[in-house]
C-alpha cells in the first residue's frame, strides 16, 4: 500500500498523527474527561483566559472579542473548545476523521499559527491540574499532554 507503513503491528496511512496513544493513555484521557463532567465549558473559558493573560500575542486572533474577565464571548468560546475536545475523547482511535471539519476550519479560515496550539494546550493542562490536583498524576499528565498534542497535530495537518 503506497503511503502506508506498519507501526506496532498495524498498518497506518501517512495521514495519521505519528504519536501513538497507548491503551493506558486512552483510559487516562477518558477517566480525566469523566471527572471534568459538566465543567468542560467553565474550564475551557478559564484556559482561554489563562492563555490570553500569559501569552498576550494570542489575543491577536480575537480582536473582535471582549476579553475582560467573565466575558460572555470567552465563556461561549470556552464551551466550543471543550465540546470539540469532548468529541475528540469519543474518537481517540480516529481523530483525523472526527476532527476533519475543524481541521479544515483552522487551515483555510482561522489559520492560527501552529505555535499557539502549544500555548492553549499548556493552559488547559494548568487549568485541569489546578481543579483536579489529586487526579493529575504524572501518568495522567503525560497522557493528557499527548492527547492535546495529537489534537493540535490534526488541527494543523492541512495547513500546507
Amino acid at each position: 500500500m503506497a503511503g502506508s507503513f506498519k507501526l506496532e503491528g498495524r498498518w497506518r496511512t501517512q495521514k495519521e498523527p505519528t504519536m501513538v496513544l497507548s491503551a493506558a493513555d486512552k483510559s487516562n484521557i477518558k477517566a480525566a474527561w469523566d471527572k471534568i463532567g459538566s465543567h468542560g465549558g467553565e474550564y475551557g473559558a478559564e484556559a482561554l483566559e489563562r492563555t490570553f493573560m500569559c501569552f498576550p500575542t494570542t489575543k491577536t486572533y480575537f480582536p473582535h472579542f471582549d476579553l475582560s474577565h467573565g466575558s460572555a464571548q470567552v465563556k461561549a468560546h470556552g464551551k466550543k473548545v471543550a465540546d470539540a475536545l469532548t468529541l475528540a475523547v469519543g474518537h481517540l482511535d480516529d481523530l483525523p476523521n472526527a476532527l476533519s471539519a475543524l481541521s479544515d476550519l483552522h487551515a483555510y479560515k482561522l489559520r492560527v499559527d501552529p505555535v499557539n496550539f502549544k500555548l492553549l494546550s499548556h493552559c488547559l493542562l494548568v487549568t485541569l491540574a489546578s481543579h483536579h490536583p489529586a487526579e493529575f498524576t504524572p501518568a495522567v499528565h503525560a497522557s493528557l499532554d499527548k492527547f492535546l498534542s495529537s489534537v493540535s497535530t490534526v488541527l494543523t495537518s492541512k495547513y500546507r
Binding site: V126, S130, F136, A139, H141
Partner: protein
C-alpha cells in the same frame, strides 16, 4: 532585561515562600522525565527510569530535582538580574552539559503545572502569568551564553 511589576514580584515571592523545594523539586524533575521521556537522555547514570513509579521514587531524580529548584529559588531572589545570575550556569549547560535550551522551556512549564496542583484555586490566571514570565525569563537567561 525583563521588567517585573511590583504585583508580579509579589505573586511570585508570596507563592515561593510556601514551596517545599525538596518535595516540589523532585516532583518537577520526575514529571519532566515521565511526560517528556526524551529528556532522560541527560540522565543515563540515574539508574532505574523505566516506569512512572521508578522515576518518581528514584533518589537521584529527587536529589537533582532539589538542586535544580534551589537554583530556581535564586532566580526568585534576583528577578531583576537574571542574566547575570545565570551567566555561569548558562555556559555550563552549553559547554559541559550540551543541553538544548528547549528543555528549559519544558521544565518551566512543568514547574507551573506542579505549582497548579499544589496551590489549586490560588494559582489564578494572574499568578500563573507572573510565574510564566519568570520561567520564560529564566529559560532565556540560561540560554543567553549559548554559542
Amino acid at each position: 532585561m525583563v521588567h517585573f511589576t511590583a504585583e508580579e514580584k509579589a505573586a511570585v515571592v508570596n507563592l515561593w515562600a510556601r514551596v517545599n523545594v525538596e518535595l516540589v523539586g523532585g516532583e518537577v524533575l520526575g514529571r519532566l522525565l515521565v511526560v517528556y521521556p526524551w529528556t532522560q537522555r541527560f540522565f543515563d547514570n540515574f539508574g532505574n527510569l523505566s516506569s512512572e513509579s521508578a522515576i518518581m521514587g528514584n533518589p537521584k531524580v529527587k536529589a537533582h530535582g532539589k538542586k535544580v529548584l534551589t537554583s530556581f529559588g535564586n532566580a526568585v531572589k534576583h528577578m531583576d538580574d537574571l542574566r547575570d545570575i545565570f551567566a555561569e550556569l548558562s555556559e555550563l549547560h552549553c559547554d559541559k552539559m550540551h543541553v538544548d535550551p528547549e528543555n528549559f522551556r519544558l521544565l518551566g512549564n512543568v514547574i507551573l503545572i506542579v505549582l497548579a496542583t499544589h496551590f489549586s484555586k490560588e494559582f489564578t490566571p494572574q499568578v500563573q502569568a507572573a510565574w510564566q514570565k519568570l520561567t520564560t525569563a529564566v529559560a532565556n537567561a540560561l540560554a543567553h551564553k549559548y554559542h
